[in-house]
């Protein structure tokens, strides 16, 4: 299993994502993909990492969504390839139309960092196959524009299709998102986005290791 991590100018967490993927699939099996290249280098899974792509000017993730690399990622996703968007990557995937909903500024209007408890709502996606429904994961969240929003009809559709993948645990509402959603998937269940940072929960020296389960999932899903 080879994992590619897209790097835009302004991306911050790309090395963290490479390290996390390597902890799951082996050192040497993850590499960076440059935003100007349409070449995905034959990887089996793509991570769109966190940060502030293109400075997040205009709107978070909006410019990155138009990059050559994201054109290739969209094709890869339509062909069923597993794609994970983390934080800014989630914003990029929403802007690219690969995931439902949009991102608004946190209700606090501040950047907020803290460990949050996530509840797995759907364990049948490409990035949650190694988890179980109802499982709780402790993962750091850090964002200012992370309030996932969907109007009522879209929210009904997303819920009806079981596209809510993660919610924040009941007493843990870092941003005020619709239905307390932390992450969603597409209808095909191969593209997943979430605001918290599973790549920062993969090393016991730095805290929780619950995020490893996400990076182990594509290989597990492929085996099933």
């Amino acid at each position: 299993m080879k994992v590619g991590v897209v790097q835009f100018p302004g991306t911050c967490d790309e090395i963290d994502a490479v390290l996390a993927a390597e902890r799951a699939v082996g050192v040497g099996n993850a590499e960076l993909l440059w935003h100007r290249d349409r070449d995905l280098k034959g990887v089996d899974a793509v991570v769109v990492p966190g940060g502030f792509s293109y400075g997040d000017y205009l709107r978070a993730g909006s410019i990155a969504a138009l990059s050559p690399a994201m054109g290739a990622v969209a094709e890869f996703a339509r062909a069923g390839g597993p794609v994970l968007g983390i934080c800014n990557g989630f914003q990029v995937l929403c802007e690219a139309g690969l995931l439902p909903g949009t991102m608004l500024m946190n209700l606090s209007r501040r950047f907020t960092f803290r460990d949050v408890t996530l509840r797995v709502e759907a364990a049948d996606t490409a990035w949650t196959a190694a988890t179980s429904a109802g499982q709780e994961l402790v993962i750091p969240a850090k964002h200012q524009t992370g309030r996932w929003y969907a109007p009522d009809d879209l929210l009904d559709e997303v819920r009806g299709n079981d596209q809510v993948v993660f919610t924040y645990a009941a007493d843990d509402r870092p941003n005020g998102s619709s239905a307390n959603v932390a992450g969603v998937c597409n209808a095909q269940r191969n593209v997943v986005g979430l605001m918290p940072h599973p790549e920062h929960a993969t090393d016991p020296l730095t805290g929780s290791v619950d995020g490893l389960l996400l990076f182990r999932s594509p290989a597990e899903a492929a085996r099933v």
Partner: protein
């Protein structure tokens, strides 16, 4: 890429003089030079300076750039140590942390810009210190900050916040958002800091930012321009009219009073763009990784003037620069404005002519387009051209080295510190019970939980953070950790769980109140405090950086504070074994109500052989014994947090501190932590023993019980024992045997046991019983300022 020929040295007649009429001495004085300094410039040039030259001299000879009032004092500080690789004089210092890795670090102030415009002032403070780090070829791996504001909870007769308190809250909020905005956006973790609220900072807040970088020893890059004929390339943001005169007019003078004064200074504050800087970081590291640069320098205070002339000075060369080649973001900039603009996110490098194309291509890849603007010459003169026109021609040594150095005239203030600093308003009656006192101390903004601040910062990006803010007394990073400056390390160089994981502990501290009371002892205390913080995570000091924030040194009482503080700093550095690797001096910090508290901020980096052994500050295990370690004298209430809450004026001097004893205690605690003997370790700071115990309870989510039997309880415990302050005191917890072993080396008294969900103390008439929730509620007092 342009096909224009590369700049080459110009032919200029020996008797050529720059075009333009000299603006004269009055303009020089308006720019911050004295009449005598103007005469000296004229003597060095052999004629009066023209506009570009005057602008450049006024900046290079400002206090901010020349340290003309502090240089002799700074020379007394110890700047050598076994781990020191790069001392003062470069963009930042560097220490060897082993295995070929260096940590570069430095603290710098952005006080006056933050007082004028807190968000951008603080943001560009972070941006500036980060550039100092990557100019050395190091990947910035951490930011810390030291903030000082006026009191945020002063109220008037009606219980409403005073105008000063409202402004201080505005500055606090803006500075925290600015620091977060820049650091979070650029992907450098903010791993710690400190904040104090004191009246004397009300009209002159302090924003000091410290950064750390990681670099392999052979990649360390210096700023000296060398190689006659080599090309000077400017890259990064384009140049505009922002920050004109920032170093001279804003940073090297007292702030003009009132809102109007601050408003009129606004154009001297720069505006930051962390996105531009994040591309610059990656671009610089790629350029250096490919070995394409001769030298590298950032553009900070005084912009192109300072960075280019310092590169030329260090390389003992000359420079010909053509301002018409500098990319502009606006039309109509005069040559002098281009030379002194402090537009952010710009870098200058020297490149051999054959590498220029490759360098420009990499800058284009990162969208930070490089432009060749000049050439290294053997003239030892800094010549500025505007196209074909010579607009400035100065000897490099005159600009960089010949600024006069001024003796300062220290005089101990008559009437003591109380004559300089009015007593704070009393917030606590003198007869409160110990329980009420403890809650008031926990809720005091100087003691309350910093969580509402550090929750606004990303502390985990880059995957090295082992101890986050609030988890231990010092931040702990793996070094190098799983990734080096240019990406993931090979598998065999990454940390493994079954072997020691090397790293560093980092702390920044500096209470101004105790320095105001006693500049010598207070400053030494600040250094000990940092070393004590490091000891709690098992870190041994490798070096320190300091930011001397003081008032106007031309005033004898400020000169005395500065002189005594530097003497205390030097003595404490020698005792703790932490040489000074560099730092910053910020003078003229005086607002409308007088000088700030003299505030030497100390940032210390220490080596941790195994980060897995770093102790948390909170109690970890029910049944552990708890001990107070280190004190062989009764702590003092003089200049303490409790004295402030009670509205007491500052004392004239503090009791003498035994530095050698303090160092022995610090070393013993460090060794015990490294050996894994202790469950937790926390140094006793503001609020004294009982406040520290409460902090250990809150952080660990566990209670503490202690009962003094009637025979020893006497009349109960005095305020000095419960709330007095003194350096090198620690609250540790662990097995009784482990504590006994530590007690064989240094003073140690076992006080109680970890357990339950209450803090309970009984000693004769002294009784305290508080639930963890009550402690947390008091400790959460800062949250309301960020609601």
């Amino acid at each position: 890429m342009s096909d224009a020929p590369l700049p080459t040295a110009r032919e200029v007649a020996a008797d050529a003089t720059p075009v333009g009429t000299p603006p004269g001495v009055e303009q020089a004085i308006a720019l911050g030079l004295t009449a005598d300094e103007y005469a000296l410039v004229t003597e060095k040039l052999g004629r009066e300076p023209v506009q570009v030259e005057l602008a450049m001299f006024s900046l290079m000879w400002s206090e901010h750039c020349s340290y003309k009032h502090s240089k002799p004092l700074l020379r007394t500080l110890p700047t050598e140590g076994p781990a020191l690789v790069l001392g003062p004089g470069e963009n930042a210092g560097a220490v060897d942390v082993g295995d070929g890795w260096l940590i570069t670090f430095k603290v710098e102030s952005h006080n006056h810009p933050s007082a004028v415009e807190p968000f951008q002032g603080a943001a560009t403070g972070v941006g500036g210190i980060l550039r100092d780090i990557f100019a050395l070829g190091a990947r910035p791996i951490a930011v810390l900050d030291a903030l000082r504001f006026g009191d945020v909870d002063d109220v008037d007769e009606d219980g409403e916040p005073t105008a000063g308190a409202i402004r201080s809250r505005f500055l606090l909020d803006g500075a925290v958002r600015g620091i977060g905005h820049y650091g979070n956006s650029i992907g450098v973790p903010n791993i710690g800091g400190d904040v104090y609220f004191e009246g004397p900072y009300e009209t002159n807040c302090l924003v000091n930012a410290m950064a750390l970088g990681l670099v392999e020893r052979e990649r360390l890059t210096l700023s000296a321009a060398t190689g006659v004929g080599n090309v000077v390339v400017l890259f990064g943001a384009s140049t505009g009219a922002d920050g004109i005169g920032g170093a001279s007019v804003l940073a090297s003078a007292e702030l003009v009073g009132g809102d109007d004064g601050a408003e009129s200074m606004r154009p001297t504050v720069q505006v930051g763009d962390p996105f531009e800087e994040s591309k610059l970081v990656e671009c610089c590291l790629e350029l250096l990784d490919k070995g394409l640069l001769v030298s590298l320098q950032d553009l900070g205070a005084a912009g192109l003037t300072s960075s280019a002339s310092e590169m030329a000075s260090k390389g003992e060369v000359g420079l010909d620069l053509d301002v018409s080649l500098v990319p502009r973001r606006q039309e109509g900039l005069e040559p002098f404005e281009v030379m002194v603009s402090e537009s952010q996110e710009r870098m200058l490098c020297v490149v051999t002519p054959d590498k220029v194309d490759e360098v420009v291509a990499i800058t284009d890849k990162w969208d930070v387009h490089g432009t060749a603007i000049g050439v290294v010459t053997d003239s030892r003169r800094f010549r500025v051209f505007d196209g074909d026109e010579l607009v400035g021609d100065m000897p490099v040594p005159a600009l960089v080295d010949d600024c006069p150095v001024y003796a300062i005239h220290p005089e101990r203030p008559a009437g003591g510190p109380a004559a300089l600093y009015p007593a704070p308003p009393a917030r606590l009656a003198p007869d409160t019970t110990p329980q009420e006192t403890l809650l008031a101390l926990l809720a005091s903004p100087n003691v309350a939980s910093r969580r509402p601040l550090f929750e606004q910062y990303d502390c985990v990006v880059q995957s090295r953070t082992v101890k986050r803010p609030g988890e231990a007394d010092a931040a702990v990073l793996m070094v190098p950790g799983p990734a080096g400056p240019n990406g993931p390390l090979p598998a065999d160089r990454r940390p493994a769980l079954d072997a020691p994981v090397p790293g560093v502990g980092v702390s920044i501290d500096g209470s101004g109140r105790r320095v105001a009371a006693d500049p010598y002892t207070g400053t030494a205390w600040n250094v000990l405090e940092c070393a004590a913080n490091l000891a709690c995570v098992g870190a041994e000091p490798l070096g320190l950086t300091n930011n001397l924030n003081f008032g106007n040194p031309e005033k004898p009482h400020i000169a005395w504070q500065l002189t005594e503080a530097v003497r205390g700093l030097g003595d404490a550095c020698r005792v703790t074994g932490a040489p000074v690797v560099g730092g910053n001096v910020s003078l003229y910090n005086e607002g409308t109500t007088g000088p700030i508290y003299p505030t030497p901020v100390v940032g210390m980096v220490g080596k941790v052989p195994d980060v897995r052994a770093a102790a948390p500050l909170g109690f970890q295990r029910d049944g552990d014994a708890v001990a107070l370690v280190g004190w062989n004298v009764l702590p003092t209430l003089e200049a303490s947090e409790l004295a402030k809450l009670r509205g007491q004026e500052l004392p004239d001097g503090l009791p003498e501190v035994d530095l050698d004893h303090a160092q022995r205690v610090i070393a013993a605690v460090r060794d015990a932590v490294r050996a894994g003997e202790l469950s937790s370790a926390h140094d006793v700071a503001e609020g004294g023993f009982l406040t520290a115990i409460a902090e250990c309870c809150i952080a660990g989510g566990r209670g503490w019980r202690h009962e003094v039997d009637a025979e020893h309880a006497g009349d109960g415990l005095s305020d000095a024992i419960l709330f007095g302050e003194w350096p090198a005191g620690f609250i540790v917890s662990g097995s009784r045997e482990a504590l006994d072993r530590l007690g064989e080396q240094v003073p140690l008294d076992v006080f109680g046991t970890v357990g339950g969900d209450r803090l309970e103390l009984t000693a004769g008439p002294t009784t305290i019983s508080l639930s963890l929730d009550e402690l947390r509620e008091a400790h959460g007092a800062l949250a309301r300022f960020f609601a």
